[in-house]
């Protein structure tokens, strides 16, 4: 396998022809894209990820395709296809990276059933995982990015992938998707750091507002294909007028909220319930209202 950053020409050519076979364990993803916007993004933001030079059987077959007709020349739009099926509206060509990230999220949420999938950010410290489930807009990605620059390792900012038998959570490190003011907060924050990670361009006027993707420095990434036991589950809410108010919640309540945030709890049925019951029995759960990140960071280290 080859690193994306080292072979920009091959990446670009593959995307336009038979497809780039990206390794993103546990997935192999075939991506084709008729626009060059994605190739630049891949070689910069997915720099350390690897691809196969030869065609592979793929978990997902993804294509970002120009919409045909006059618009192609006036105001080019591209659309996301997974196996010839287009679940979203088209977006401006320059937004190809966003479309790729959201599209891949869709594929994992809709099709991946080897694990229990929960909509959550996951970070780890000392080999144990902290799961942060939250609805969009609750500041989970920002919190996740900030934690990564304070000694935590990134497993995922979007998915907790919980193995049904080991009940451990798998790493799937990808760029963190930041929205609106979070981008400025994080840029100001990492400015002072030595090791900064990389920001993508900012994409304006998406359905979620202004979006940028942030790839954390390599040493802040969890190990590929590595699993971690879950130590804590945190339900955060950003409130400007609170410093940091942590309330423990019961295992039963935690189970219900995890199930609510799960994509495939119903599909997996009883196996998912048994798995979550074990998870909440062996971890601690808290709900947190916080306005001051540093206060939360100190508290986190003292919590069981």
């Amino acid at each position: 396998m080859l690193k994306l950053a080292a072979y920009p020409e091959q990446v670009q050519a593959a995307l336009k022809q038979q497809g780039l076979f990206l390794s993103l364990p546990p997935f192999v993803i075939q991506v084709r894209c008729s626009s060059t916007a994605l190739a630049d993004y891949f070689t910069r933001i997915y720099a350390d990820h690897e691809f196969f030079p030869q065609p592979q059987v793929a978990s997902f077959n993804i294509e970002l395709k120009h919409e045909s007709g006059l618009r192609r020349w006036l105001k080019p739009q591209i659309r996301f296809y997974q196996n010839e099926h287009a679940p979203f509206f088209s977006m401006p060509e320059s937004h190809a990276p966003i479309l790729w990230e959201w599209g891949l999220n869709y594929c994992i949420a809709a099709k991946y059933h080897s694990c229990l999938t929960i909509h959550a950010a996951v970070v780890a410290k000392n080999g144990e995982a902290l799961v942060i489930p939250a609805p969009p807009g609750s500041g989970k990605s920002t919190l996740c990015a900030l934690l990564c620059s304070h000694g935590w390792q990134l497993l995922s900012d979007e998915f907790a992938l919980i193995d049904l038998s080991s009940r451990q959570v798998q790493a799937l490190p990808r760029p963190i998707s930041l929205k609106n003011q979070s981008i400025d907060v994080l840029k100001a924050h990492v400015e002072k750091k030595q090791n900064r990670g990389r920001f993508s361009a900012e994409y304006l006027g998406t359905s979620k507002g202004r979006v940028a993707l942030y790839s954390v420095p390599t040493e802040q990434l969890a190990q590929d294909q590595h699993s971690y036991p879950i130590k804590q589950v945190l339900f955060p809410r950003y409130c400007q007028d609170q410093v940091c108010n942590v309330t423990p919640i019961s295992p039963a309540q935690c189970l219900m909220q995890l199930a609510d945030n799960s994509f495939n709890f119903a599909v997996l049925g009883q196996a998912a319930f048994v798995c979550l019951a074990e998870v909440v029995a062996s971890s601690h759960a808290y709900s947190v209202d916080y306005g001051d990140f540093n206060a939360l960071l100190t508290q986190l280290d003292t919590l069981p």
């Binding site: 075939q30 592979q56 059987v57 793929a58 059933h113």
Partner: protein, 332 residues
């Protein structure tokens, strides 16, 4: 069409050939299978001895298998609730739900999009009210759609369960009231029986075959043709050809049934494909770009039109299609 040149058909018919598949062929075959709604079928066929398959193939089949298992649980649960609502009207299961409950050979891994139930027409109104009381909702159609279903079709507007989102079609016949073919549906009910697992009636095998064939011909949905022809082929193996056609004759359906049966046998049986069947089989291809050509589009269009013509006479059909086209245009 050469059945062994096509990767998906190879997987369905001749597993040995798949041992030499390249990654590109696998990607193509799995993509085709997804669009033809046959991933679950492949999973049931290949997962029991899957160690020789490429790892990602195993992974994708396992995902499909999870969905199939989920669907089976969901259907069983919905059937229990439906029996509470419809039990007093001697309900009969049709299509996918009937295959699952009777565990026919085509049911392993088969995906379905809704549950189909038939009850005698005289109970229709009471049954509908009972379904409303049990959380199944079919309101909110336009006045035209209401009229379309209630005046001309063989089913009520589809019901959706408020909590589970499962879709139910409540039929009083196999064929629309405006259909070119008509027969006495009571004949089917007389031969139907209870299967040990269920409190619902299940049509006898010959009738399951006839319904499967006739549904394909009148729905015009060629994109799911392979799944439906496979159903018919496997079901028809459980009975003899002569009695089956005699039963179809009794309903006045022998012509359409025999025609579809030949297609099913050509595609999944051992005979070579006759040149006369190749046009009809083109209409049955999955909606994957690898099958696209002008002749496939033409065959699909012609199949669709014939299906609609069989459902409604032209004076009724033309205004209906124009209305549908206008509604689609307005939506776009």
């Amino acid at each position: 069409m050469d059945r062994y040149q096509d990767p998906l058909m190879c997987l369905l018919r001749a597993p040995d050939l798949a041992q030499n598949f390249s990654p590109e062929q696998w990607n193509l075959a799995l993509g085709q299978a997804e669009l033809a709604q046959l991933m679950g079928v492949l999973a049931s066929q290949y997962l029991p001895a899957s160690s020789w398959l490429p790892q990602v193939v195993q992974q994708r089949l396992a995902w499909a298998n999870r969905l199939v298992e989920h669907q089976q649980r969901a259907v069983n649960m919905a059937l229990q609730q439906l029996f509470d609502a419809l039990g007093m009207f001697s309900p009969m299961l049709l299509k996918g739900a009937a295959y699952q409950v009777a565990a026919t050979p085509n049911s392993a891994g088969r995906m379905m999009s809704d549950i189909d139930i038939l009850i005698p027409q005289q109970h229709l109104q009471k049954a509908e009210q009972s379904l409303w009381l049990h959380g199944w909702d079919n309101r909110g159609k336009t006045p035209y759609d209401e009229k379309y279903y209630r005046a001309w079709m063989h089913e009520l507007p589809p019901f959706v369960h408020q909590k589970t989102g499962i879709i139910l079609d409540l039929h009083h016949h196999w064929l629309p009231s405006s259909c070119r073919w008509q027969f006495d549906i009571n004949e089917v009910c007389k031969k139907a029986s209870y299967c040990t697992e269920s409190s619902f009636l299940i049509p006898e095998i010959k009738d399951l075959c006839i319904h499967s064939a006739i549904h394909l011909v009148t729905s015009g949905e060629g994109d799911k043709g392979w799944r439906d022809l496979r159903d018919l082929y496997l079901l028809s193996q459980l009975t003899e050809r002569e009695p089956l056609l005699a039963r179809a004759e009794q309903f006045g359906l022998v012509k359409p049934v025999a025609k579809v049966l030949v297609l099913a046998e050509q595609l999944f049986g051992e005979q070579p494909i006759a040149p006369t069947a190749s046009w009809a089989l083109k209409a049955m291809l999955p909606a994957h770009s690898s099958y696209q050509s002008w002749s496939v589009s033409a065959a699909k269009m012609s199949f669709y039109c014939q299906a609609h013509l069989s459902r409604m006479p032209l004076p009724l059909l033309l205004p209906h299609l124009m209305r549908k086209a206008a509604a689609r245009y307005a939506k776009a």
